[in-house]
């Protein structure tokens, strides 16, 4: 690691003031940041340890229904919180499928959304041609090994995917990411938080320097929701494809569906066209569900080695819907 100075933050005001200085970075759980420092992915000169900021590590019920989750809550604490387990199983499952028990004791939910791609070229111990490491150096994956890369929303500048599991659940839940910044805070819809590579391939998300995530707000409970993660080993591995489904049902009929796919693009990918067609479908009618899902794949574009992910993603979406329907409300 390149040398840096360190300070522990104890007030929100000081934190966002100090964070605004270029070259400073927040440290929450550290499970991403430390690896970036070791690989030279980022080289901040000032580290602001936000892990002990007060008041950002609780779950609270919102007055009109819904929950607010403090950004510094550890992943395990979010996933195992009684209200999350009961009302937002998709989020609980997504988290428990992420990383490892030890990492989830360190990693925060806010930091999780800020993780960068796991593209092997990007994560290499040497700096390889990669626009996300160094803009203009090219994309090694485009014509290289890309079997686990994007099928949606990629450009020739970058074909990577966003690996966060919780982000997929949050996108399907229409969660809101609440931030604080020296120039005022924002409320950002989860599905719009991450950036596709079309304009600034080096950027991952919409946050500005020094903008702090304080909370994640979940709307009304979604007890009929589920997460499905596909990976070659059973645990402690990133997804090849994942799917989050949130359903409202009348008996066996879907009233409303929200679907998001993970690890298929640089942001969680909402299947809006499919969602529209799913309204009114019978849960037992696999063909109708599949036809609906198909709608959203018109825009899918495979790379040289990952056409299989398209089929896989369709099945994952279907299975996630069926799994969600089995969750009791």
């Amino acid at each position: 690691m390149t040398p840096f100075v360190y300070a522990r933050a104890d007030s929100l005001g000081d934190t966002i003031a100090a964070g605004a200085a270029p070259d400073s970075a927040f440290l929450a759980g550290g499970t991403e940041l430390l690896n970036w420092l070791r690989l030279g992915i980022t080289e901040p000169t000032r580290i602001i340890d936000i892990s002990r900021l007060d008041g950002l590590d609780q779950v609270e019920a919102l007055p009109g229904g819904g929950l607010t989750i403090g950004a510094l809550m550890h992943l395990n604490d979010v996933a195992l919180h009684a209200l999350v387990v009961r009302d937002y199983p998709v989020l609980s499952q997504a988290i428990l499928n992420a990383a490892s028990p030890q990492l989830r004791n360190l990693a925060t939910i806010g930091g999780n959304l800020l993780q960068k791609t796991r593209c092997a070229y990007f994560r290499a111990e040497e700096q390889l041609p990669c626009n996300k490491r160094q803009l203009g150096s090219g994309c090694s994956a485009l014509h290289g090994i890309n079997d686990n890369h994007a099928i949606f929303g990629w450009t020739e500048d970058c074909v990577a995917t966003q690996p966060s599991d919780p982000a997929v659940a949050l996108a399907a839940l229409d969660a809101v990411i609440v931030t604080a910044h020296r120039s005022g805070g924002r409320r950002i819809p989860a599905a719009e938080f991450h950036l596709l590579p079309d304009t600034r391939p080096e950027a991952d998300n919409v946050l500005q320097q020094g903008e702090l995530i304080t909370a994640i707000e979940l709307p009304a409970p979604a007890p009929r929701s589920a997460y499905l993660k596909v990976r070659e080993r059973e645990s402690y591995e990133y997804a090849i494809v994942s799917a989050a489904a949130v359903l409202e049902m009348d008996g066996q009929t879907i009233r409303r569906a929200a679907l998001a796919l993970g690890s298929v693009a640089l942001r969680p990918w909402r299947l809006s066209a499919a969602e529209e067609q799913l309204a009114g479908a019978e849960i037992g009618d696999r063909e109708a569900l599949s036809t609906a899902i198909e709608q959203s794949f018109a825009q899918a574009r495979p790379l040289s080695q990952n056409a299989y992910k398209i089929e896989l993603a369709k099945t994952a979406a279907l299975r996630a819907i069926e799994k969600a329907a089995r969750m009791s409300s």
């Binding site: 840096f4 440290l27 690896n35 580290i47 990383a99 490892s100 030890q102 990492l103």
Partner: protein, 161 residues
């Protein structure tokens, strides 16, 4: 906010208070334990959070010591494999690993044992499948996995299912 490139760190390790002056903030908890305190029971298998060999308890929770800046542990309590036994009396998990042959080369073992001890506290011993999942943050290349599950089950005082 006061930024420094050298820090005073006070923390408790295995019940003993330590005060380290002039600490480089780049030092991880893992390297602090191993290289400064010479507590080498905690292992470095990857240094990237990918193997679990460095598992210790921080304020009672199991975590990967390679993913923590030591300086951020100010005032905290760390337990390592060296501090798990009660004097000469092995922790039940340690004994169970011996009884069930839960290791071969032993390199991953401190991490496995620390993970297992925490897992039992967490209550994730409802079934063998649950133990397997909650022990999956610790790689074992000797692949003692079935015996590790047996050891955890036994230490948790649960009969085979």
């Amino acid at each position: 906010m006061n930024f420094h490139d050298r820090h005073l760190l006070r923390l408790r390790v295995n019940g003993e208070d330590h005060s380290l002056s002039d600490l480089d903030p780049r030092v991880t908890l893992l390297d602090l334990l191993r290289e400064r305190l010479h507590l080498t029971g905690t292992k470095k298998g990857c240094n990237f959070g990918e193997c679990g060999a460095c598992t210790v308890h921080l304020d009672g929770r199991r975590v990967n010591a390679c993913m923590i800046l030591a300086v951020s542990c100010e005032g905290r309590e760390v337990t390592t494999i060296e501090g798990l036994a009660d004097g000469d009396a092995l922790h039940p998990v340690q004994q169970a690993f011996i009884d069930h042959d839960g290791f071969q080369c032993g390199f991953c073992t401190p991490g496995q044992v620390m993970s297992a001890a925490a897992l039992i506290e967490e209550g994730h011993t409802g079934s063998d499948a649950e133990i397997r999942e909650w022990m999956s943050g610790n790689l074992c290349r000797c692949s003692a996995y079935p015996q590790i599950v047996e050891a955890v089950r036994a230490a948790a005082g649960r009969a085979s299912q």
